[in-house]
Structure formats: structure tokens, C-alpha cells
């Protein structure tokens, strides 16, 4: 099981940014030494203006790097011809397409563009790959509907299927879950995870959806203006405090116990233990109401969760109350606090 991580994109002392008039450069990030691994979903997180798009565009080859080098599967990006690059990296962008009038099947078939001849005639092999790609993303049943007739989530899946039809080891996605409703977001992320694991794709996506990223991302690249990029698995970055430092601003704090951003971190502790699911949601309700769920201790109020309908509140003075829903728990604690 202990497999070596296989690097597919590697950057060495990469500087990204824009060339301005008169040979001056606007450097957004410099000295980037990044590695993107096969079989993992890597999430690029950062506030607006942190350079997410610039980095993605540089890795996509749409924008020239200012200095340093990018290696795709060990080969320098500069040595890639446009058609070779099409075989290595597939992209899903936020760019508006004009493809409403072609079918999902036809759109995915565009992914075969680098493989087909001058007239773009599809061979048997191409049709097989297109069908497999549509099946892999779960829109095979809509193959012959036009793009304009699909939902946003389905459109995004078709775009992902297009990159699969490209049969490239690397997929780069620019905010693939923006504009999607919550279920489509989950479906898209689950799909990307599945592709990483089952097809050993290296997937890099930029996103603002922190919860989803923490839930689904194998690796994070955290970007911010004027500081080096931070890489690692989400949990390590959160536990060592790096993650929070990237998003905390004046008045915005990262709560390491919940993994959420908040305007203030509640300090008043309430002990919670018992049934895992119930405790989780009791904790959620406590945070919303300005309390901090923590370990059970005789010094503060504790909530013992036996089941969703059996919760007991233990006060430091030894009093016990049995209630049958989370609403009652919160109401009791609030009343108690008010009286103090």
C-alpha cells in the first residue's frame, strides 16, 4: 500500500506574473517549488487576488512564466509543442463557451481533437473513448442532448468528460464548483476524487469552497499575496495553524476546532461527549450560539449525548437535566447562562 507519490508537475524556482510595458515585470509569486502528484486531488485555495488564476494559467501554458521552469512528467514545459501539451494536460475553465448548440457527445468528441486527423473524423477507438468518458462522469444517458438543455452540474461533468477523452494524466480546473448548486458541487468533487483514485489522474483545482476542499482535498496549495505558498495535507496545515493564517483577516478568525471561518471564536466552553453524530450536531448548535464545544470537565456545563432524543445536561453544581432534543439543550444552557 505504501506507494511512492508520483510527481507529474514539478516547478523549480518558478516566478509568475505579468510582463508590463517597457520590459518591467509584475511578479505575483516567485521561487515556487511545487509538486503535483498523480492520484490526488490538490486544491488551490486563497483569497481573490492571491494569484490562483495566474498560477493556473501559467501551468496551463496560457501565460508565460517570468522565470524558473515547469516540468510536466519530467519534461520542461517549454519543450512541449501545442499538440503534445494537449495530450498531457486537460483543462476546465470558467470561460463562457458557445457550445449550446452541440450535443454532449459532440462536445466530448472535441476532446479527441489532438488524436484525430485533419478533418477530425472519429474512428472506432475515438467513439469508444468518448462513450467511456461520458460513462465515467455519469452523463452517458444525456449524451445526445444539447449542451443548452443540460443543467449547470451536467455541463461541468461534460467538460470534465472532455478532459477524460483527451486521455491526459493531468487535469487542471479553474473553480469547477463555482455557480453550481450544493448537490452538483458534491457530485463534481466526488467525481474528481474518483477519477484521481481510479484513473490515477493528477487533479489541480482552484476553489473558494473551503468546506468542500477540506472534505475532499488530498493536498492543499495555499496562496496569499506577499508570502510564500504553503503546501501540505489539509489536516496538517490546519493543526499547525498555517491554514488559519492564510484566511484570517481583521475580524475574521479560523476556528481550528470546527474548521470554519467565523467573526469570533467562542470562548465559553461546554463539554460534549457521547454518540458521535449527536455530539457533532450539538457542537454545531453550540458554536452558532456562541459556545465552544470541548472535552467534558467538571468545571463547566457538560452535555452527554446518549442518542438524538436522549441528552443529559450536567451542571458543575451536580444538577442533571434530561432533555429530548438539541433545541432544548441550547435553550437550557442559554437560560442558565443568562441567570448567572
Amino acid at each position: 500500500m505504501n506507494k511512492e507519490r508520483q510527481t507529474v508537475i514539478k516547478t523549480e524556482e518558478l516566478s509568475i506574473g505579468y510582463s508590463l510595458k517597457g520590459g518591467r515585470q509584475k511578479v505575483i509569486h516567485k521561487g515556487l517549488n511545487l509538486s503535483l502528484y498523480a492520484g490526488e486531488v490538490t486544491c488551490l485555495l486563497g483569497l481573490n487576488g492571491a494569484g490562483k488564476s495566474t498560477l493556473l494559467r501559467t501551468l496551463c501554458g496560457f501565460q508565460k512564466s517570468l522565470s524558473g521552469a515547469v516540468f510536466l512528467q519530467g519534461k520542461p514545459l517549454k519543450e512541449f509543442s501545442q499538440s503534445d501539451f494537449a495530450l498531457a494536460v486537460g483543462v476546465v475553465l470558467t470561460e463562457k463557451t458557445n457550445a449550446g448548440g452541440i450535443t454532449a457527445y459532440e462536445l466530448v468528441s472535441l476532446g479527441r481533437h489532438p488524436y484525430t486527423g485533419f478533418f477530425g473524423k472519429l474512428k472506432e477507438e475515438d467513439h469508444r473513448v468518448i462513450k467511456e468518458s461520458l460513462e465515467a462522469v455519469g452523463v452517458a444517458h444525456k449524451a445526445h442532448q444539447r449542451i443548452a438543455e443540460l443543467s449547470d452540474g451536467e455541463k461541468q461533468k461534460v467538460m470534465i468528460a472532455k478532459t477524460l477523452a483527451q486521455q491526459c494524466p493531468i487535469i487542471l480546473l479553474d473553480e469547477p464548483t463555482a455557480f453550481l448548486d450544493v448537490t452538483s458541487r458534491i457530485e463534481t468533487m466526488v467525481l474528481l476524487r474518483k477519477l484521481a483514485v481510479e484513473q490515477n489522474k493528477a487533479i489541480l483545482l482552484s476553489t473558494h469552497d473551503m468546506d468542500m476542499a477540506i472534505q475532499m482535498g488530498d493536498c492543499f496549495w495555499l496562496l496569499d499575496k506577499n508570502r510564500p505558498i504553503a503546501c501540505g495535507i489539509p489536516e496538517d496545515l490546519i493543526l499547525e495553524g498555517t491554514f488559519g493564517s492564510f484566511f484570517e483577516k481583521e475580524g475574521i478568525l479560523f476556528d481550528v476546532t470546527t474548521g470554519k471561518l467565523n467573526t469570533e471564536i467562542p470562548q465559553k466552553q461546554i463539554g460534549v461527549e457521547g454518540d458521535f453524530t449527536t455530539s457533532y450536531w450539538v457542537g454545531n448548535a453550540l458554536v452558532r450560539n456562541g459556545f465552544r464545544p470541548s472535552e467534558v470537565s467538571p468545571e463547566h456545563i457538560n452535555v452527554i449525548c446518549h442518542s438524538p432524543t436522549e441528552l443529559s445536561i450536567q451542571h458543575p453544581n451536580g444538577n442533571k437535566q434530561l432533555v429530548n432534543c438539541v433545541f432544548e439543550v441550547i435553550r437550557n444552557i442559554k437560560t442558565k447562562m443568562k441567570n448567572e
Partner: protein, 347 residues
């Protein structure tokens, strides 16, 4: 729902049949009626009773119908190329000022240098080449300006408006040329500006055909990158399309088609704008593999229909071409605009 490949083929076959029918009607019907039997005799080289009919058919109607077929196809295809390139189904050679550019080139030659197309009949190759070249240069200059702005401006609507503005500027230069030109030259230029498929004589037809056919063949060779461009330039680049080269080829092709038609037939409105939309509505698809051939043949049909409608029934009057094209084109565009929410290719 979408059309199966079979019904797409049906559309293509029906259109081809329609083209033949319209072609025959355009030969028979006119200010002078010639019976089909006589047409058959003349075309097969048999003896005919009336020499006048032979003259009308061979020197006037046949070249006119062939010109209409080529010009209609060329304008429609150039419109489609621009619509795909600018990701806007309302782009067209006349909207983006490209026709105006060709117009200016012709105006410069006709008004300033005094060459009139009518004077050129039976003249040297150089004379046609001069006018076509002037039209092409004019169209290319406007295209270059549009390309320049297309790199600066992201919004295609803004770009269209810039195209319209450039068209106005070019028209103002033409007005100045008109102002200083002599009355007979101005008259010739105004007549040319009304649009006419009969301006191409039998001797000129091979030149016209070689320009337009080479443009049409080039367009057919661009089907694969055109489809990739439906996704936008960045996606197309990621699929291995060489964007700069493709953009140049598409614009060159558009310029060649629009300029040669404008040089020979005058500035013809609406065909380039409306026909690709008619084709997309019929096919229900913007896949260029079927859309481009269908646009081409629909363009020919529409142009032939216009030449037929130009003849006012029961009289010897022939309306100017540009009085007829908007009658067919404008309602299509209004329909498309009103229904843009439900028309797939708009979304």
C-alpha cells in the same frame, strides 16, 4: 431532441433539390419569359428558333444565376465564420464593417481612378484584379482594425458596436470621395451600391468563381478548428489548435469571400447575417461538420430566391437586390432575437 444523422442528410438532399429547382426557375423567369424547352435546347446546343433567347440566357441569366449561387454561398459562409470566431450569432460581414471596407476599396478605384465595372467588360484581367484587390485591401484593413480591437475588448457586443462605428467611419470617407467625384462616376457607384448579381458577365464569371470557390474550399478545410472554437479560444488552444494561425486563416477566408462578392456584386446586406441562423435553426445544431455545408447551400438558395423576387411580377421592372435581401433577412433576425432564450445555440 436532436436530428439524427439521417435527417441531417435529408435536409441536405432537400436543399440540393431546392437549389436545382430555384436555379431552373431563375433561368425561366425574368422580364422576358423563356420556356423550359427552349432553355434545354439552348443549353444542350441544339438549334433554337429565337436568337434573342439564346443571347439572354447565355449572356445574362446563366451568368447571373451562377453568380447568385456563388455569391450567396460565399456571403453565408463568411457570416458563419465570423459568428463562430466572435462567438456571436449576430456577427456578419456587413455588421462588422468588412463589406464597408471592401466598398471603400471599390469606391477608391471607381471614383478616384475612374474605372467602372461596366467599362471593364471584355477588358483585361488586370482591371478585374484591380477592383477585387482594392476591395480585398479595404476589407482587410477593416478586418485588421476589428482584430486589433478584438484583442483589447473582451465583450463581443462592444466589438460589434465598434464594427458598426468603423463602418460609419469608412462610409464617411466614401461620402467624401463621392463629393469630389464627377456625376457619372457617382451614378455608376450608386448603381453598383444597390447590389446586383447580373454585374458579372460571362467573361468575368471564371474570375469570380475562382476567387469565391477558393475561399469556400478554404472554409471547408477549417471545419475541425471551427468546432473547437465553439468552446472558446482557451479551450481550443488546450485542444492543440494553433489559435493565431487559425484566427488568421478564418479572417483571411472571410475577407476573401466578402471582398470578392462585394467587388463583383456590390455590398449585399443580410445574407451573411441571416443565412447561418437559418441553417442552424433548420439543423438544430452548431456542429460545423453539417452546419457549414448546409449554410453554404442555403446561402445559394437564398441568393437565387432573391434574384427571382427581384423581378416584379407582370412587369418589366427589376428591383435592386438590396431592396429584396432585407425582406428575407430582417424577419429571420427578428425571430432569432425574440426567441434567443429558447434557441440552443444562443446559450
Amino acid at each position: 431532441m436532436m436530428l439524427s444523422p439521417k435527417s441531417k442528410r435529408h435536409i441536405f438532399i432537400s436543399l440540393s433539390a431546392l437549389l436545382i429547382v430555384l436555379f431552373v426557375i431563375s433561368l425561366v423567369y425574368g422580364s422576358v419569359r423563356i420556356p423550359i424547352k427552349a432553355i434545354w435546347e439552348i443549353l444542350t446546343g441544339a438549334e433554337t428558333e429565337k436568337i434573342a433567347w439564346q443571347h439572354i440566357l447565355l449572356q445574362s441569366r446563366l451568368p447571373q444565376s451562377c453568380t447568385a449561387i456563388l455569391a450567396g454561398a460565399s456571403l453565408a459562409v463568411s457570416g458563419l465564420l465570423l459568428q463562430t470566431l466572435f462567438k456571436n450569432p449576430l456577427a456578419g460581414p456587413s455588421i462588422l464593417g468588412i463589406t464597408d471596407g471592401a466598398n471603400l476599396g471599390v469606391a477608391a478605384v471607381m471614383l478616384y481612378f475612374g474605372a467602372s465595372l461596366n467599362q471593364m467588360t471584355g477588358l483585361t484581367t488586370n482591371a478585374y484584379l484591380t477592383v477585387v484587390l482594392a476591395a480585398f485591401v479595404g476589407a482587410s484593413i477593416v478586418l485588421a482594425i476589428i482584430i486589433y480591437f478584438s484583442t483589447k475588448v473582451k465583450s463581443n457586443v462592444i466589438l460589434l458596436i465598434i464594427g458598426i462605428m468603423v463602418g460609419y467611419l469608412v462610409s464617411s470617407v466614401i461620402s467624401i470621395l463621392n463629393y469630389y467625384a464627377s456625376a457619372d462616376k457617382v451614378h455608376a457607384f450608386v448603381m453598383w451600391g444597390l447590389g446586383n448579381f447580373s454585374g458579372v458577365s460571362r467573361e468575368q464569371l471564371p474570375y469570380f468563381a475562382s476567387f469565391t470557390l477558393s475561399g469556400l474550399v478554404l472554409a471547408l478545410l477549417l471545419i475541425k478548428p471551427l468546432n473547437a472554437l465553439l468552446l472558446g479560444e482557451m479551450y481550443a488552444a488546450n485542444l492543440g489548435v494553433k489559435i493565431k494561425q487559425t484566427r488568421f486563416l478564418i479572417l483571411f477566408c472571410t475577407g476573401l469571400l466578402a471582398a470578392s462578392v462585394t467587388a463583383f456584386c456590390g455590398p449585399i446586406s443580410f445574407i451573411g447575417l441571416a443565412v447561418p441562423n437559418i441553417a442552424r435553426l433548420m439543423l438544430g445544431s452548431s456542429n460545423h461538420k453539417s452546419l457549414l455545408p448546409v449554410t453554404l447551400i442555403t446561402g445559394s438558395c437564398v441568393a437565387l430566391l432573391c434574384t427571382i423576387l427581384m423581378v416584379v411580377p407582370g412587369s418589366n421592372t427589376i428591383l435592386p437586390l438590396n431592396a429584396v435581401t432585407p425582406l428575407l433577412g430582417a424577419p429571420v433576425i427578428i425571430y432569432v432575437l425574440l426567441n434567443r432564450k429558447s434557441i440552443q445555440y444562443f446559450n
